[in-house]
C-alpha cells in the first residue's frame, strides 16, 4: 500500500516519494508539512525497498536545508509557500557517502488566500418534468436487444434515477454536499428535463458561480440529448454512438446499462453542479482556477506545468466538446469494457474540499 503512495515511478533509480500533501492541490495556509520516503525501483519500475537517507527539497528554485530520514521517513514540518503557484522538487541521497542519488519529481502546490468555506450545500434532484421515464426507457430499448420487458423497463428508469443520485453524491464525498428533500432557499436544484426539451444539442447548463456565492441555483440536465446518443445514426440501423463509440453492446445486461446510463447522466449532473460551486473559473491564479472554454478544465494549461488537469472527459470538468462518450459512461476506452469512473482532478477536488466545507 505504501508503495502506491509514491507519486511517480522512475525505472532503475531511486525516487523520492511525497506522501503528503497531494500533488497539484490548493492549500490555504502559509506553510505546509511535506513528508515522504525514499524508494528504490528496479529497471522494470518495480518497487524494491524503502531506504534511510537524506532529502533536499527545492521550493521555487531555492534549496531548503537537507533533512535526514527517521525510520525511513523524511519530513519537512513547515515549508513556506508564496501566494500562487509553487513548484517543488528535490533530490535524495543514500548509501556509503550518499552516492546513490534519486529525485523527487517536480510537483505543484497552489497557495490561495481568497478561498473560504461556505458551509453545507444542499442539493435536490428534481425529476418532476413529464416524459422523463419514457426517455430513460427509450434509451434501454434503443441500446439493448432483445427489448427489455415492461416490468424491466419500469425498474430501469427507477434504477437510473437512483444511480444518478448515488453517482453525484459519491462524486462530492468528503465535501458538505447533502441531499435535500425539496427545493428551497439554500438548495441547489438539479432539474432534469424530459418532454419539454426535444433537441439533441445540449447535455446540460448551469450558472458559473466562483466561490459558491449563491447556494440557491439550478442546473439543467436535458435528457433527450442522452437519448440522441442511443439513437441509430442511420434509419433502422444499430449504429448509435453509444454502441459504436463505447464498449456498450446491445447484448449487455440491463444492470450494465443502468450503470452506463446512470454514469452518463450523473457525470453531467455532477459537472453542472460543479459549475455552480465555482468550477472551473476562468482566470489565472488568485483570480480564477485556470479554467478555459467556458469554465472548464484547460487542456493547454497542463503543458506549462507538471500538472494533470484534463483527461478527455474522464475528469468531471473537462469541456463538453472534448469529453469522449466512453469517458462519459465511465469506461476507459472505446472498445473493451474497463471501468474508469469520471472524477474530479486533484486540483478541482481540493477546491471543493475548501469551499464546500
Amino acid at each position: 500500500m505504501a508503495v502506491l503512495a509514491c507519486p511517480f515511478l522512475l525505472m532503475g533509480a531511486d525516487s523520492g516519494c511525497v506522501f503528503t500533501p497531494t500533488a497539484d492541490t490548493i492549500v490555504t495556509t502559509g506553510t505546509v508539512k511535506i513528508d515522504g520516503r525514499i524508494a528504490e525501483f528496479d529497471s522494470n519500475g518495480k518497487f524494491v525497498a524503502w531506504h534511510d537517507g537524506t532529502v533536499t527539497l527545492n521550493v521555487n528554485g531555492t534549496n531548503l536545508a537537507s533533512v535526514a530520514t527517521v525510520s525511513q521517513k523524511w519530513t519537512y514540518p513547515s515549508v513556506a509557500l508564496k501566494a500562487g503557484v509553487n513548484r517543488i522538487k528535490g533530490t535524495t541521497s543514500r548509501g556509503p557517502g550518499g552516492t546513490i542519488k534519486g529525485t523527487i519529481q517536480e510537483f505543484v502546490l497552489e497557495r490561495r488566500t481568497d478561498l473560504n468555506a461556505t458551509g453545507e450545500q444542499k442539493v435536490f434532484f428534481d425529476w418532476s418534468d413529464a416524459g422523463i421515464d419514457d426517455i430513460l426507457q427509450d434509451i434501454a430499448k434503443l441500446s439493448l436487444n432483445p427489448d427489455p420487458s415492461a416490468a424491466d423497463l419500469t425498474a430501469f428508469a427507477a434504477d437510473v434515477r437512483d444511480g444518478v443520485k448515488t453517482f453525484v453524491l459519491n462524486a462530492y464525498k468528503g465535501t458538505k454536499v447533502t441531499l435535500a428533500g425539496a427545493a428551497g432557499p439554500g438548495v441547489h436544484v438539479i432539474k432534469f428535463f424530459g418532454n419539454s426539451y426535444t433537441v439533441c444539442g445540449l447535455y446540460g447548463e448551469s450558472p458559473g458561480d466562483f466561490k459558491n456565492t449563491n447556494k440557491t441555483q439550478t442546473s439543467n440536465i436535458y435528457l433527450n440529448t442522452f437519448r440522441c446518443a442511443a439513437q441509430p445514426q442511420t434509419p433502422g440501423g444499430t449504429d448509435s454512438r453509444l454502441l459504436t463509440e463505447t464498449p456498450a453492446r446491445a447484448t449487455d445486461s440491463l444492470a450494465q446499462r443502468v450503470k452506463d446510463i446512470s454514469t452518463f447522466i450523473g457525470r453531467t449532473a455532477a459537472h453542472e453542479f460543479g459549475h455552480s460551486l465555482g468550477l472551473t473559473a476562468e482566470g489565472d491564479v488568485l483570480v480564477g482556477l485556470h479554467g478555459c472554454e467556458g469554465m472548464h478544465n484547460c487542456s493547454g494549461y497542463e503543458s506549462t506545468l507538471p500538472i494533470d488537469r484534463f483527461d478527455d472527459g474522464h475528469y468531471m470538468m473537462d469541456p463538453g466538446p472534448k469529453s469522449k462518450l466512453h469517458a462519459r459512461i465511465g469506461q476507459e476506452n472505446t472498445t473493451t469494457r474497463k471501468e474508469q469512473m469520471p472524477r474530479f482532478n486533484a486540483y478541482n477536488r481540493s477546491y471543493l474540499l475548501i469551499v464546500v466545507q
Partner: protein, 270 residues
C-alpha cells in the same frame, strides 16, 4: 417538429441571457464541428465584430455562407460571450439562428470561430460544400476528406470530427489520415487526437513507429501525445511502449505518465 424543438432550445438559451452571471454549457463531444453546428443553426456568416455597447455585440456581415441575416446585427449577452474575448475589427465565423427579428448564436460560444481574411475562401468552400451535401453521407465523405487537408485548422478538425461522427471512416481512410498526420499536413491539435484515436482502433501495428514518434515529440501538444500512448496500448504495441517508457518517465509529465502506466496511475488514485 424541428422548428418547435429549436424554439425550445432557444427559449432555454434565452433563459440564460437574463442571468447576470456566466453560464457554463455541456455540449456533446465535437459539438463545435461544422456538421453539428449546421444542425444547431439556420444561418452561417463571416462577420466583423464592431463593438460592444449597452445593446449587445454588434456585427457587420462580410460573407453569408448559409441562409440570410441582416447586414448588421446585434447579439445579446448570453452569459458566455463576456468571457469569450471578441476583438473589434476581427472577423468571425458565426453559426446563427433567427427568432423573429432577433439573431442568436446556435450554441453560444461554441458557435464562434475567429477567421483570418485569407481563410474566408476556405470557409466558403467548406461550408458551402457541406450544406450542399447535408444528409447525403456518401457525397459528404469526399468533401470531408478533402477538407481534412485544409490550411484552416478549425476546418481540419471539423472534417475529421465529422467523418468520425457520421461513421464514414474505414481502415483505408484512417491510413490516409495517418499519412496526412505523418507528413504534417494535419496540424490542428484536436484533429491530431481524433486521427490518433482512429489509428488506435485499427488493430494494425504498422502505425506503431508513427505513434512512438508522436508520443515522444515534446513539440506535440500533450493531448496528442497522450492519445498516441493510449493508441499504442490499444494496439498492444508492447515493444513500442517499452521503447518510449524511459523518455516519457524522465520527462515527468503527470498527464503522460498516467497514460503510459494506467494501471499504476489507477492504484495511485485509490
Amino acid at each position: 417538429m424541428m422548428t418547435r424543438s429549436i424554439a425550445k432550445l432557444l427559449l432555454i438559451l434565452s433563459m440564460s441571457m437574463a442571468a447576470p452571471c456566466s453560464w457554463a454549457l455541456d455540449i456533446p463531444e465535437n459539438g463545435d464541428a461544422v456538421n453539428y453546428q449546421l444542425g444547431a443553426s439556420s444561418d452561417v456568416v463571416v462577420a466583423k465584430f464592431v463593438r460592444r455597447d449597452n445593446n449587445g455585440y454588434s456585427f457587420e456581415v462580410a460573407d453569408t455562407l448559409r441562409g440570410e441575416v441582416p447586414k448588421t446585427f446585434v447579439l445579446q449577452e448570453d452569459g458566455y460571450l463576456r468571457g469569450y474575448g471578441l476583438r473589434p475589427g476581427q472577423s468571425y465565423l458565426l453559426y446563427l439562428r433567427k427568432i423573429g427579428q432577433t439573431v442568436t448564436l446556435g450554441t453560444s460560444i461554441h458557435s464562434i470561430q475567429p477567421v483570418a481574411t485569407n481563410e474566408v475562401p476556405a470557409y466558403k468552400e467548406a461550408i458551402g460544400s457541406h450544406v450542399a451535401n447535408l444528409g447525403r453521407r456518401d457525397a459528404l465523405k469526399p468533401v470531408l476528406k478533402k477538407q481534412a487537408e485544409s490550411s484552416v485548422q478549425y476546418l481540419q478538425y471539423s472534417a475529421v470530427a465529422d467523418l468520425k461522427r457520421l461513421q464514414l471512416l474505414d481502415k483505408n481512410d484512417v491510413a490516409e489520415l495517418a499519412r496526412l498526420l505523418e507528413s504534417r499536413r494535419i496540424v490542428d491539435p484536436r484533429a491530431k487526437v481524433l486521427v490518433i484515436d482512429g489509428i488506435g482502433a485499427t488493430n494494425s501495428q504498422d502505425f506503431a513507429p508513427l505513434l512512438e514518434s508522436l508520443a515522444t515529440n515534446r513539440s506535440e501538444p500533450t493531448p496528442a501525445r497522450g492519445a498516441a500512448i493510449t493508441a499504442l496500448h490499444k494496439l498492444n504495441a508492447t515493444e513500442s511502449l517499452k521503447k518510449i517508457g524511459p523518455s516519457i518517465t524522465n520527462e515527468r509529465s503527470p498527464a503522460l505518465i498516467r497514460k503510459l502506466l494506467p494501471a499504476e496511475a489507477e492504484k495511485l488514485r485509490q
